[in-house]
Symmetry: C2
Subunit: 243 residues, 2 copies
């Protein structure tokens, strides 16, 4: 064997993932045992186990105590279950890969103070100032999504309509250097309300998908509450559940 650069868990993970996808382990449907991987990569158990953990997080393998690390069956059809496992940006990024034309209309832009009702909805404290923004996302000429954003104006200051027209997420991360640490989401199917039927190209459908997101910075503060109402038949969410 030639001289090999030090293997950290990231390179072990990358190497194993490439091999799995290339089918190198498809006959036994098992990864080599930990001791073999330790020897091959000239590393410690820590690094090997961390790499395997990352593969398991992606739904590629499953560890069984006393047996080994099993590969999960995958076919061309089931590949799509592995995509999109996590994207913090809005629905915009959800169709990355397809070559789509995007356009944004800012239909409403206000700075308001949170009252009791809005606090109940958004979990923002009563009395704080927020930006309330509504934008329509037009994808290939179809009015596909309406984003209803509320940003805590103390944590995300100085948003302008021009920024809203481009990308608020770019502004938050690149300009304000705010780190988007965690996003929690709920997904529902709702009967379309007036705002939806007036704004979206629903055709004959009278329901919408509703993705409700709350986002936290790396100080643990919730800086955003957003509802994204989207038309049927166009968007997919994926979820992985492990036991």
């Amino acid at each position: 064997m030639t001289i090999m650069a030090k293997n950290n868990f990231e390179t072990i993970y990358t190497t194993l993932k490439a091999r799995i996808l290339a089918g190198d382990y498809s006959i036994k449907m098992r990864l080599p045992i930990e001791d073999e991987l330790i020897a091959e990569f000239d590393t410690s158990r820590y690094a090997v186990r961390k790499a395997i953990q990352k593969l398991a997080d992606e739904g590629l393998v499953y560890s069984v105590k006393g047996r080994g690390v099993v590969l999960l069956e995958h076919t061309p059809q089931t590949q799509q279950f592995n995509l999109n496992l996590s994207r913090t940006t809005g629905l915009k990024a959800m169709n990355a890969g397809r070559n789509l034309d995007y356009q944004t209309d800012v239909v409403s832009f206000k700075q308001i103070i949170v009252d009791a009702e809005l606090s109940e909805q958004t979990a923002f404290e009563v009395g704080i100032p927020v930006y309330a923004i509504q934008r329509v996302r037009i994808i290939n000429g179809t009015r596909a999504v309406i984003d209803i954003n509320y940003f805590n104006a103390q944590l995300i200051p100085d948003i302008t309509p021009s920024i809203a027209k481009k990308s608020i997420y770019d502004y938050i991360q690149k300009k304000l250097k705010v780190k988007i640490a965690v996003v929690k989401r709920m997904l529902r199917v709702d009967t379309a309300q007036t705002v939806d039927t007036q704004t979206l190209d629903l055709e004959n459908n009278n329901c919408i998908g509703n993705m409700i997101s709350i986002s936290f910075n790396d100080a643990g503060r919730q800086f955003e509450y957003t509802e994204s109402h989207f038309i049927p038949n166009e968007f997919i969410f994926t979820q992985l559940i492990r036991n």
Copy 2:
């Protein structure tokens, strides 16, 4: 301090979680640093870090290198974002907590051989035998969900209409001793088809939520493909995204 039983990471996790939810760390919005936790629980870094990792998996805390472990803000409103983070059983369990009356109608029960078209849909190999089952879930008198199941009959043998009427998941786990290792899901909003409008209590809605699940046993084999079509306004899914 009194004699303390050996602390494993599970007890550390449980203790910290209880304290977080009780607000014990709400003033600083930080967990104690690792060394303090090691001293308090008389344990190793491994156990402390594993406990913190589990808290982070649930969306309670977020670790920042060089700073510490930050608590994420939580209010009564945002509590529901933390529930349901993983349930392998069908939609049935999704409303646990509410006291609901459940009833199941088996509307179709067949054993068939996978053809090219069904293989394309389910990712099962052409030629293998599967159980094809359709069941309606009636919740408090409302026909709320239609489950369209395909089970690999070689991996899940001897299903009967009587089992389908009760609980196939109970049969799989308790009777067959098959371990449900991983479930991969896709969520969509679809325009209602004939089967949906004829079967579900959609009222004036003409769309459905569609939860598509593929499930794997602990040998890595896909034993199930299921579509659960559900009525609007009644079901919620949650998702956690970390950076």
